[in-house]
Subunit: 209 residues, 2 copies
DNA sequence: GGTATTTTACCCCAAATGCGCGATTGATCG
DNA sequence: CGATCAATCGCGCATTTGGGGTAAAATACC
């Protein structure tokens, strides 16, 4: 049996909103009772409604779609949000995903794909426009930025990141604490930092951990 | 005009390899000259061949597919690797992506989808099985783990992560260094850490930055 | 075989850090 | 109105850290 998917739309452009609603309402298996012209009203009302999938624009008057998801998702963990926007800059994409969006489509997505995406997200998938998917995947690729550190130094940096002090590291590696200090001094030099805090930050952000 | 996509296969199972090759060879626009039964031979020979897309199994005799990509990708930045595997655990997925894979398909992917995915990745997309996409997207969702820190403490933690010391922070925020110390002591208590290094690590890993 | 680089080790010292203990002011809350 | 908590400021002290050197082995590299 095929359940009906309840869809809501948050979109300020009158025409787009109407068209989207028409497409969804005109397709068997889909249901679109609620549409919103801004994030405020959506944030206020959605928690009281039963909706499976929300199509969310980003650029909205007042608070934007990303902020709206940030507020709604914690209250509606079982509702899936699909961004439907013209924005395809990295910040919009990753901020949306971090906020809790489960999909990201560009507004040039043809209606058939849109409907398929709604079904897909409802079934536990994560529809994305191809270019978006590539950006997401690429964010994982760690450029092999050749570490300037030697194996031993890397090892010690790891322990440094664990919050260990000279003495603990020395004991763990069966070294003199003097040696550990030497290594750490070299690490600082090579990473151009002057404290544990900076070293830890650089270690985590840049590379190996 | 439609270019021909050169595909290579790395797969130890005789039958699967043959079937994949047949599918690709039997489709106009696709070309499959090279197949490999293990990662070693692929790592050795691929750099000397012209290949657009590589279908890579993970479980292979000797070194695995993830390790193979790690070694090949730096030499072949313009070649796209698609994982084609039965493994769908988080570690396999994320390790693959980090190693440089541009797509991730499960072996139950039907031939038509596989062919489409090859074309998609060649055109700059990132094909993924729906469940895989969801896991990838979910990895971005930051649980709103309510920060136990006050606004001021958060502010100071930020500066701490920049590598600033008490005095610098104090000057920047027009505070007494004693005050800064107090805040930091509270931060440590709340985060259950005992040093800057641990605090920085927790701050970056857990949440706000 | 000679030259880096890595790894090991040590010294001195000023500054920074972590910790314990206390205190005042506001704001928030029940 | 009392209680709690955040934010501010303070002191003392033992320990850790970072920066300045130096140098001998071991290893790698050419």
């Amino acid at each position: 049996m095929k359940e009906i998917i309840h869809v809501a739309i948050v979109e300020d452009d009158e025409e787009i909103r109407q068209v989207l609603a028409l497409i969804i309402r005109g397709t068997p298996g889909y249901f679109c009772k609620h549409t919103f012209v801004d994030a405020e009203s959506a944030v206020k009302e959605l928690p009281n409604l039963y909706v499976n999938v929300v199509l969310m624009d980003i650029e909205l008057p007042g608070i934007n779609g990303i902020e709206a998801i940030k507020r709604l998702k914690p209250q509606l963990p079982d509702t899936d949000f699909i961004m439907l926007t013209v924005k395809h800059d990295d910040k919009s994409i990753f901020d949306s995903l971090c906020a809790g969006a489960s999909g990201y489509l560009l507004k040039d997505t043809p209606p058939s794909d849109l409907l398929r995406s709604i079904e897909e997200v409802y079934k536990g998938g994560s529809p994305m426009s191809t270019n978006i998917a590539r950006k997401v995947i690429f964010s994982f690729h760690q450029n092999p930025s050749p570490s300037p550190l030697s194996a031993r130094e890397t090892e010690i940096l790891q322990l440094l990141c664990e919050g260990m002090n000279y003495r603990s590291i020395a004991e763990k590696l069966f070294l003199s604490s003097h040696t550990v200090r030497s290594h750490i001094k070299n690490i600082y030099k090579k990473l151009h930092v002057h404290s544990r805090a900076e070293a830890v930050k650089k270690a985590i952000n840049d590379k190996l951990l």
